[in-house]
Subunit: 219 residues, 2 copies
Amino acid sequence: MAVKLYSFWRSLATYRVRIAMALKGVVPDEIVTIDLTKGDQHGDAYAAVNPMHALPALVDGDGPPLVQSLAIIEYLDETRPQPPLLPAAPRGRARVRSLALMVAADAHPLMVPRVREYLENELGIPEADRTQWCRHWVRTALVALETRLAGESETGRFCHGDTVTLADICLVSQVAGAGFYEVDTTSFPTVRRIAEACSAVEAFATAHPLRQPGAPGAA
Amino acid sequence: MAVKLYSFWRSLATYRVRIAMALKGVVPDEIVTIDLTKGDQHGDAYAAVNPMHALPALVDGDGPPLVQSLAIIEYLDETRPQPPLLPAAPRGRARVRSLALMVAADAHPLMVPRVREYLENELGIPEADRTQWCRHWVRTALVALETRLAGESETGRFCHGDTVTLADICLVSQVAGAGFYEVDTTSFPTVRRIAEACSAVEAFATAHPLRQPGAPGAA
C-alpha cells in the first residue's frame, strides 16, 4: 500500500510523525510539501485533506487522510506493532500519553502559525512579544516535563524506562521547538539527557527538521 | 479501589473525564474541588498532583495521579472496557482520536485560564478582545468539526456511527465552551444534532458543568 505524507520541514507535529514512521520502518512513497510560510495550508487543495488547515496528514493506501499527529502515531502503532511505542500496562500507557499531551496539547498548539498570525494581525502584538509568547509556552511545558521526568520513578534512559515511546517523540519535538525559539534548556537536565539519548537513535536523527528538503542548510 | 477526582465545575477537560466515568459507571469516592477562579491550581498542594497546574487529575486506587483528559479517558477505556469509547478497527480509532484532538489539542488549550491570564497580564489585551480570542478558537474548531462530520460517511447518530465514542465526549465539551462564550452554533447543524443526541444520554446530562457543585444555579 502506498503511503503519502503531507509535510513541511519546520512543522513539529510532522516531525513527530516522521520519527514514528522511521522507528516503524515505514518509508513514504510520496511526500507532499505544504509550505506553511507561503500559506499553502489555507488553500482549497489542502482544506480538502484537512479542514483544520494543519499539518501533518498521512494517506495509508486507499484510506482517507489521517490527521492529528498523536492519532496518526497511535494508528501506526496499531497497524505496525513493532517496535511498540506504548508500554503494555494501562498505567504506563496513561503516563506516556499524558507526557505526550503535555507537549502536543498543552504547549505546541499555542505556537502554531494560525495562532502567531492571530496575535499579529488581529491583536497587533509586536514581533518581540510574539517571540516571547512562544518562548513562554515552550518553557512552561519544559518546566512541567522536567519536574515529572526528574521526580517519577518510571523515568529511565528514555521518558518511560529504557525503550523509546510516544513520550520521547513528543519530548524531542518540544526540544526542537526550544531550539527554534532560542530557549535556554540548561535548567532542564533530565529533558536534555533524554533528548540526547534519542538523538543517538537513527530514526530520530533522520527525521530531524533540519534534515528535510527545504530546510536551511539541507541538501 | 477508591477513586478520587480533582475537579472544578467549569473545567471542560474535567467535564470530558466526568462523562467517561459516568458512561463506565465509575463513581468517584472523593471529589476535590480546585477552584480555578481562586487560583487553587497554582498552589503547592496541587502542583504536587499535576506540575502542569491543570485540571483534571484522577487517582485510581493506590496509583499516582493520572493527568491529561484524553490520557485518563483512554486509561478508563482500557481498565473498564464496557462500553467501549473507541471503535475496534485502527482507521476508526484514528478517526475518533483525530476528532477528539481537534477539540482537546487544537482548540481548548487556547482558552484555558493560564492563557487568558497571559493575554491579560503580560500582553495587556482588553477583556473584549480576550473574549473575542476565545470565541475565534471555539468557532475555528466548530467549522472544522462541522466540515468533517457533515462530509464523512462514518458519521451516524453520533460522531462515529451510532454509539458514543471519545469524539462525542470532546464534541460536547466544545459545545459547552461555545455556550460559555456565547458563540452562535446555528451554522453547525451536524455538531448541534450530535450534541443533542448526547444530551439525551444520562451520563452526559449528569456530568454537565452546570449540574456540578459550585456552578451558578446548582444545588
